[in-house]
């Protein structure tokens, strides 16, 4: 009896595996960043809308958010209202990292949708972005007081991500700072 059922059971198990894979596939695209738990690589880049100025990553005081964005990126517009909300009310400052974008396009985009950032680094060639392990936009890094990356969001930050993951983490990091 069991021998006759065995092929059927194997088939059902295999089918279940494939169905599970099908529904999990969208999450598999997200590659965990090996940078989490390590210091943010240091860099110095020009600042958007301030042609004379360059800024170094070491000048930023954590905890802060570093939001990778580009005017060419539809996901960035999706998360933009939330990023603005965080910048205005959030517990930490938000810095921008303008990725593979013409500065003129980037400036126009901010003018049109609002500029939530303290300032934005500009990386037109995308070289520093490779150092940061960026592979698209938007991405958002949470960096703590000691310059360690504590979390990386890949893709648009959703209301839920913010409420459940990022905001509690930032509040904890702020407390760490006071001790």
């Amino acid at each position: 009896m069991i021998r006759r059922l065995l092929p059927v059971l194997v088939f059902i198990a295999l089918a279940a595996l494939l169905v599970a894979g099908l529904f999990n596939a969208p999450y598999k695209e997200i590659i965990p960043s090996p940078l989490v738990g390590k210091p943010l690589p240091q860099f110095r880049l020009p600042v958007l809308n301030q042609p004379e100025r360059t800024a170094a990553s070491t000048e930023l005081e954590g905890p802060y958010l570093l939001n990778i964005w580009g005017s060419w990126c539809p996901g960035c517009r999706v998360e933009h209202p939330l990023i603005e909300h965080i910048a205005q009310n959030g517990p930490v400052p938000v810095y921008g990292f303008n990725y593979k974008d013409e500065p003129a396009d980037a400036a126009r985009w901010l003018e049109r949708y609002g500029d939530p950032y303290v300032f934005s680094f500009t990386d037109l060639p995308g070289k520093v972005a490779i150092d940061l392990g960026v592979y698209g936009a938007p991405e958002t890094f949470v960096v703590d007081r000691r310059g360690i990356v504590r979390y990386k969001q890949i893709g648009p930050l959703s209301e839920t991500d913010w409420r459940v993951k990022v905001k509690p983490l930032l509040e904890r990091l702020n407390l760490e700072g006071q001790q």
Binding site: E29, P34, L35, I130, D131, G133, Y135
Partner: protein, 144 residues
């Protein structure tokens, strides 16, 4: 899905750019860059390697590989540099380590299990059909 759309956009927008070569000094350098790019995954279009992909990140990474080559890094050092930033996922050929044993040796395991099952089935069947009874002359063999 959104990556698929992004890929399709890139194919459209960067179709021409893919032909645009990097500025290689000689054939050996070009060959080495191509060989390395074939082993590294494009993180935008994840089922393509850097050589196949037209995404702009793939192009940037090919250029990065070239620069690292010129800095005198070995192939393994270049791969390690990218793994540090993008994780082992960037390698098209995953390294053999406990976490990937099933991936590497799983297929052999399946073949072994299959052979064992087939062998068992054959052994079971043999005694049943055991010594064949002499074929009865059905009168059809008229070849003498």
């Amino acid at each position: 899905m959104k990556h698929l759309i992004a890929c399709l956009c890139f194919i459209w927008a960067f179709g021409a750019a893919a032909i645009e070569p990097l500025d290689f000094r000689d054939e050996a350098e070009a060959d080495r860059n191509r060989a390395l790019s074939a082993e590294l995954r494009c993180l935008v279009c994840q089922n393509q390697n850097l050589l196949d992909s037209d995404a702009f990140l793939a192009k940037d990474l090919r250029r990065e590989v070239l620069e690292l080559m010129r800095r005198g890094l070995s192939d393994d050092e270049i791969k390690a540099y990218l793994v540090e930033r993008y994780g082992t996922f960037v390698l098209y050929r995953p390294p053999v380590k406990p976490a990937t044993w099933l991936l590497w040796f799983g297929p052999a395991l399946f073949v072994a299990a299959g052979l064992w099952l087939v062998g068992r089935a054959i052994r079971r069947r043999q005694p049943a059909s055991g010594p064949l009874p002499p074929a009865a002359d059905d009168g059809m063999n008229n070849d003498d």
